[in-house]
């Protein structure tokens, strides 16, 4: 790169960049974003399910944590934020252990959405792993509890739609949109990505919840419209917050985490 003034000193190798970091994300960023997760946990947006508590608004930003920080740091931020919230805002958290599953899985999966060569093959292994909760959930519901297959399929719309979006090229498409300089495409990527990732994290959390608590057929029927509606809210809120955050971060030129995709 040509400079207006030629540097007279020797160019130095910088070796200590971001040493106070987890997976390339400065600790300070993780702390700040964990605090945001905690703050959003105070705001309930639905009283259904939520591992025994009301559903907090923070659920909308778990995927965003992964896109901003990468899989490991993103999961750390979401996990810490939710854990702190389980003490400060138990109303919206419910079971503290179960409540950690969705955030950490969601942020981790979102963080694996990449367009470059690095970690490009992670999706394949994760897809195979995700089949396990799918099998356990369906076996428990259909095989053991006698939930009709059509009700199970309707009641797990966000789970299987999320899985399909994850294994198909749509995952790459959402990633490209989030990296786009066009904010409208960023919004679309955030909406689709949040739907997909929230569906998958819901799969993991619901498999655990259902195996512990279980719910009868009448509840399955009630949840058929409710769960997609909730995921729609997650996706919309994730999109609105995400566009603002990504546009702001790009504008101020803050140093990016190494695994960030925005």
């Amino acid at each position: 790169m040509p400079f207006k003034v030629i540097p007279e000193g020797d160019e130095r190798k910088i070796e200590e960049v971001n040493k106070c970091a987890i997976d390339g994300a400065p600790i300070a960023y993780i702390v700040v974003l964990a605090a945001i997760v905690t703050a959003l946990s105070f705001i309930p947006f639905s009283i259904i399910l939520g591992s025994g508590g009301a559903m907090p608004l923070s659920q909308a930003v778990f995927p965003l944590m992964g896109w901003l920080l990468g899989p490991i740091a993103g999961a750390t931020a979401s996990g810490i934020g939710t854990l702190v919230a389980s003490f400060l805002s138990p109303l919206t958290v419910g079971n503290p252990v179960l409540s950690l599953v969705g955030p950490t899985v969601g942020s981790f999966l979102a963080g694996t959405m990449v367009v470059g060569k690095k970690r490009r093959g992670w999706w394949l292994g994760l897809s195979i792993i995700l089949l396990i909760p799918f099998f356990l959930y369906s076996h428990r519901a259909i095989g053991q509890n006698g939930i009709p297959t059509n009700i199970f399929i309707a009641g797990t719309l966000i789970e299987w739609s999320g899985f399909l979006l994850f294994i198909l090229p749509t995952r790459i498409l959402f990633t490209r949109w989030i990296t786009s300089s066009n904010l409208q495409l960023v919004a679309l990527g955030l909406f689709g990505g949040t739907w997909m990732i929230s569906g998958l994290s819901h799969l993991c959390a619901a498999t655990l919840s259902y195996s512990i608590i279980g719910w009868p057929l009448a509840i399955w029927n009630m949840l058929i419209p409710v769960i997609p509606f909730e995921n729609l809210i997650r996706s919309t809120v994730g999109m609105v917050i995400g566009v603002g955050v990504i546009a702001g971060l790009r504008a101020i030129g803050l140093v990016k985490s190494r695994e960030a995709i925005y």
């Binding site: 003034v5 540097p7 007279e8 000193g9 960049v17 603002g244 702001g248």
Partner: protein
């Protein structure tokens, strides 16, 4: 003299920038000295500070050329945590630096991270609190402290590490004059008594001239000049050409010298300046200047009747305040922190309900006005423009209120374009507001308010955190709005900036109006100003001294006015 830090041909490029931010900087910082760094916005001052503790380039990455050593250690060969033992850093906003729940915990935090033994931490806390004069406040929450106290706590936390070098980047720009004085006095004392080397970036020219041993001028990433305050600040013409503000005393004497009157030298401190006035008094021909007071025959735009406000905590913030503000006035409200300025203005905006008394806007009680009515009458520009910005483009920010108040699309477009044009933001309309400079972000907020076409605009500390050029640019906007017929109300501590703009001054203290007068007489109420912990500009103090020497009272406000009273041709 021993060298504590050395930069040898240092150049630096941020990962996101297209050109070098520091360019071939070679600098030796001597042990025990107070080095001031001045320069316009974007000169690389903060980057230079961050180079001295290794954060540049270790946190930011980018490309780094040359060598920087602190306490004999190369800043690229050791982690930032090593430099934390040698270099303390204090930045502009104390709020951003304090994170503990008590004063003593705040000081202990860094020490705990450096694994200092518990007994040693306990021993150091009272020592550093005494050094910054915060004894007895160990258990207080940092949020309970005043702005000056918070900044002194940040300094104490940095001092606790016993650094050889203390870096302060604009530590007083957010503080009122008392807080600023406290911080400068503390720093100078630490420098003198403990021999701590100080590197301070500051636009406070008067204080830098009094306290620094050397001043370096940084411009476009290069050190352009370095010398004693007398050598640097006496070059008034050069400083002005480079958008830097010299101390008013230097400016005054430089202007007098331009009248072909020999001043001997250009003084840079008030004490030196006052001492040089005596031989010049024979050239002094004071002219009486008229006050630019404003009176309007029309009924007041804002009328405050016997307003009192007591907060839930029991604090009496306002007591029986009565005031009329007429259309087209440019009003300045001054007073120390806690004088009641913001509480008064919040009543104009109906953000607070009075305990007693009433506020009328155009004759209507404020409580009868809807939010939309009020937004059409009065606009408010907060101290930090970022607190008022939440849209992703400048255009959306400016049109936000209009759209939400249901104006037709055509009207929204027209008014938005007009406001953007008035603030010179048309070319930035599609940019994210946060990608603009702080001064331009303030303009975005002003444009958004302007689009509502309010009759009154309130500016709360608009020049805080701005450099001289940025502050003047914002005040020029207020002038422009005033010329458009708007009523302007400004709250500020920067008295030296206001004589060219304000007509009338309200001095507040302890919740009451101490004085309501034209600016010319208000600024010369030295005793009253000092009662509310405000310091008049140096030009006012020089004018007072000239009045004593000549026996002619002439309430001058600016270096230009003083210089115009000196005339060589008469003799």
């Amino acid at each position: 003299m021993e060298i504590i830090a050395q930069l040898d041909k240092v150049s630096y490029l941020y990962p996101s920038s297209s050109d070098l931010v520091l360019k071939n900087i070679s600098l030796e910082i001597r042990k025990g000295e107070f080095l001031g760094i001045i320069g316009p916005t974007g000169a690389g001052k903060t980057t230079l500070c961050l180079t001295l503790n290794g954060i540049v380039p270790q946190f930011y990455g980018g490309r780094f050329f040359g060598y920087a050593t602190v306490a004999g250690l190369d800043t690229l060969s050791y982690p930032v945590s090593t430099f934390a033992r040698y270099v303390g850093a204090v930045f502009e906003d104390p709020e951003n630096q304090l994170l503990a729940t008590s004063v003593e915990n705040e000081i202990a935090f860094t020490l705990e991270n450096l694994k200092v033994p518990r007994e040693e931490i306990i021993a150091r806390i009272p020592r550093v609190l005494a050094a910054v004069r915060l004894e007895g406040m160990e258990k207080k929450q940092p949020s309970e402290l005043s702005g000056g106290q918070k900044q002194r706590l940040a300094i104490a936390a940095a001092l606790a590490v016993q650094p050889a070098l203390l870096i302060l980047d604009e530590p007083t720009s957010q503080l009122d004059p008392v807080g600023s004085k406290e911080v400068f006095a503390t720093i100078k004392e630490l420098n003198r008594s403990l021999g701590i080397t100080i590197v301070m970036v500051s636009h406070a020219a008067e204080e830098m001239a009094e306290n620094a041993d050397r001043i370096a001028i940084l411009r476009e990433g290069m050190i352009e000049k370095i010398g004693t305050p007398a050598e640097i600040y006496s070059q008034v013409e050069y400083l002005e050409q480079n958008a830097l503000r010299p101390p008013q005393v230097a400016q005054t004497f430089a202007l007098i010298a331009r009248e072909r009157i020999s001043t001997g030298k250009i003084p840079v401190t008030l004490k030196e300046g006052l001492a040089l006035l005596e031989p010049l008094k024979s050239y002094y021909r004071p002219s009486s200047l008229e006050s630019t007071s404003y009176s309007s025959p029309t009924s007041p735009l804002i009328s405050v009747k016997n307003l009192s406000h007591t907060y839930l905590s029991g604090t009496k913030a306002l007591e029986n305040v009565s005031l009329d503000i007429h259309s087209g006035e440019y009003l300045l409200i001054i007073g120390q922190n806690g004088a009641g300025k913001s509480t008064l203005v919040k009543h104009f905006l109906n953000l607070l309900s009075s305990t007693k008394g009433q506020v009328f806007i155009e004759g209507r009680p404020i409580e009868n006005l809807s939010v939309s009515d009020l937004s059409r009458s009065i606009g408010y520009v907060a101290q930090n423009p970022d607190n008022q910005i939440f849209n992703i483009t400048v255009e959306k920010e400016v049109s936000f209120a209009l759209t939400n108040l249901g104006y037709p699309v055509k009207v929204v477009e027209e008014r938005t374009s007009e406001s953007l044009a008035a603030m010179g933001l048309l070319e930035s309309r599609h940019l994210h507001p946060l990608s603009l400079s702080k001064g331009d972000r303030a303009r975005v907020v002003i444009a958004a308010i302007l689009a509502m076409e309010p009759k009154i605009i309130v500016f709360d500390e608009p020049t805080t955190g701005q450099d001289y050029q940025g502050a003047k640019a914002i005040l020029e906007v207020t002038r422009q709005l005033h010329q458009m017929g708007k009523t302007i109300i400004v709250i500020t501590h920067h008295l030296y900036l206001m004589p060219e703009y304000a007509q009338r001054v309200i001095i507040m203290g302890q919740g009451t109006i101490l004085l309501d007068a034209p600016i010319r007489s208000a600024y010369h109420e030295i005793d009253l100003l000092s009662k509310t912990y405000l310091t008049p500009p140096q030009a006012v103090l020089i004018s007072e001294d000239l009045a004593k020497l000549s026996g002619h009272r002439s309430d001058l406000l600016t270096p230009n006015e003083i210089a115009s009273c000196f005339n060589y041709a008469i003799f």
